[in-house]
Symmetry: C2
Subunit: 173 residues, 2 copies
């Protein structure tokens, strides 16, 4: 317990502030969308990203990247969305491994109906309390953190290849 530097009071407050803010913001958004549109925020993001894509269509893996989701979570989510008729799935004609997800007209209508309330909630909770300069600064700080989080070695990476594609370090025989 002594090898690692502990968090001092300032760091403690910063860390808790981050946790609380992210939790409260996520809960507020989830509640708003669940009540007004009958879907969780993660589902809204999927519909939104599809609506911004050419042909309102995206491969599952690309969609997973753009909504920052695991393949499994996305697969489950799209299955639900398909059951509601908001998304349609089809096999890619040239690479039959990939599945294409397409936003249906009904899905687009639901998204369009949900968007104003959602945007208003984001504005009220995130942007109204901050000045223009403050939100710009916040963005910069978050980008800095994202850079560190993006190449996290502890992330669920594809299983380490036994002996290949791994730069031999000087310590190894």
């Amino acid at each position: 317990m002594d090898g690692a530097r502990w968090l001092d009071d300032d760091e403690q407050r910063t860390w808790r502030a981050f946790l609380w803010t992210s939790r409260l913001l996520n809960e507020a958004l989830d509640r708003q969308l669940q009540q007004d549109a009958g879907m969780p925020h993660a589902y809204y993001m999927i519909l939104a990203m599809l609506s911004e894509s050419p042909g309102r269509t995206l491969a599952m893996s690309e969609l997973a990247r753009t909504v920052c989701s695991s393949p499994s979570r996305l697969s489950h989510a799209v299955k639900r969305l398909e059951e509601r008729g908001w998304v349609r799935r089809a096999k890619h004609p040239e690479d039959r491994r990939t599945t294409l997800a397409e936003l249906t007209d009904e899905g687009f209508a639901v998204l369009a109906a949900a968007a104003p309330g959602h945007v208003e909630a984001v504005r009220r909770h995130l942007f109204d309390p901050l000045t223009r300069a403050e939100s710009a600064h916040l963005r910069d700080l978050l980008f800095t953190l994202l850079a560190g989080l993006a190449d996290d070695p502890s992330a669920p990476a594809p299983p380490q290849p036994e002996r290949s594609r791994r730069r031999r370090s000087p310590e190894e025989p």
Copy 2:
């Protein structure tokens, strides 16, 4: 869809950066604790808050406030923690509505074993990428947002009393 101001590109980026950062950070911390200590981050927080309380004991409602949790979530969580022998529950002797949650010795040991790895993960993901001044600025921005989120009228509040304790506004008869 025209009454509400849309998000411009800068706001869009800020908003997505917030979502991604909070999601990636939460996932990283959850993974670390799940793998190294066999519990999710929410459970760790409960043990940590209890350990810092006088007598390692707290009423459920106070505990819920300090870990920023709903009563229901906390109740379920403490039930699991009690099943593992990390927490003990007892009725308050003077107000028999309230339940006191107490951290057991075994729970304290588990917490002590988990803490260093957890702190190291927080440090790596949140503080190492930022200068001292940057993290102070981040804290200030988060506090500003928290102030707005704290008194959110859309929060799951106790159901509005029909006719009492509600300042009569001039518009009402």
